[in-house]
């Protein structure tokens, strides 16, 4: 029933291609090192959620300080913390604006505290927060789920004051 052409077994235990085998083992070991390095990088936050991913930036005049994630991942939750120097504001309210291009690429879950009102402009959304008397720093947290991947530009600022512009990389 066999076709009778093979008398030798296909795999001969006596002979082994040593050179190919050794190369295979070497490639495997290199692969393991790469995997270990990737795990170490991930622990350090190179892929988001870690020391390497967190960044802080101040506006030129120091009015605005923003803590954000410079590295984050698709569908992952990321928060942006904003601190505004209330003493320097002309009125009893902080008008924080965020550009719409960025907001359209994320899913904003919550703003803490809730703004008194939100004004939608052509290219930015402005959130108005009242400032209690005696409050030196107004703190706002934007809780969101990051959406569109790759490079995203975040622009935010205080109306009548200066602004910051940073880049965020979103892993797919």
């Amino acid at each position: 029933m066999a076709d009778g052409k093979r008398t030798q077994p296909l795999f001969d235990v006596e002979e082994q291609d040593d050179r190919t085998l050794r190369r295979e083992w070497r490639v495997q070991r290199v692969g393991w090192v790469v995997m270990a390095l990737l795990v170490a990088a991930a622990l350090a936050g190179a892929f988001g959620r870690g020391p390497l991913a967190e960044a802080k930036v101040r506006s030129p005049s120091g009015l605005l300080e923003v803590d954000y994630q410079r590295l984050t991942r698709h569908e992952s939750s990321a928060a942006i913390d904003v601190a505004i120097d209330a003493a320097r504001l002309p009125t009893r309210e902080a008008r924080l604006w965020v550009d719409r291009e960025y907001l359209s690429g994320v899913s904003l879950d919550r703003v803490v505290p809730e703004p008194e009102r939100s004004e939608t402009g052509r290219d930015r959304v402005t959130m108005v927060f009242p400032i209690a008397s005696g409050e030196r720093t107004a703190r706002v947290q934007l809780q969101m789920k990051v959406g569109d991947p790759w490079l995203r530009r975040i622009r935010m600022g205080v109306e009548g004051g200066d602004s910051v512009e940073v880049t965020q990389f979103v892993y797919p």
Binding site: V13, D17, V27
Partner: protein
């Protein structure tokens, strides 16, 4: 479009990672290996589905994965070299009664594994009854007994 890309990416990544991890990782024998298989499939599922719970998405994922599988197996059929590269070949860990230490170390096989396979397949009790032992591409260890040594 991104469903297909996800499926391809996940398939190829898993293929490469498992191939790099060596033959022993593929043979699920211990409880630990079993747990690993369960967890990996759970980890991958979320990424492939990505909040798209439609029938269409599920269908596309399955279709892409099966197509990849068929495509790769056709490619392997045409090229022995590619087949060897993607699947790996059997490696002898014991030859003519002699343990091949280098192969055993590199493939993470110890004497207990060989004896266990010998008992299971041939009913053999001792190392000196084994002629050859091979770890297959699947990670399974197969044993060739010495003449007249088989317990079956």
């Amino acid at each position: 479009m991104d469903t297909v890309i996800r499926a391809i990416f996940v398939y190829v990544t898993l293929l490469v990672i498992f191939r790099i991890s060596g033959r022993r990782t593929m043979a699920s024998i211990t409880t630990f290996d079993f747990v690993l298989t369960l967890i990996i499939s759970e980890a991958i599922q979320q990424a492939m589905i990505d909040t798209d719970y439609s029938l269409t998405n599920a269908f596309l994922l399955v279709l892409t994965l099966i197509s990849l599988d068929i495509g790769l197996s056709l490619v392997k059929q045409r090229s022995k070299r590619l087949e060897r590269l993607m699947d790996g070949a059997p490696v002898a860990v014991m030859r003519d009664g002699q343990l091949q230490r280098s192969a055993m170390n590199n493939e993470r096989v110890d004497e207990e594994d060989i004896l266990g396979a010998a008992r299971a397949q041939e009913g053999i009790e001792r190392m000196d009854q084994i002629r050859h032992a091979v770890i297959e591409a699947t990670g399974e260890i197969t044993v060739v007994p010495k003449q007249g040594a088989s317990g079956r």
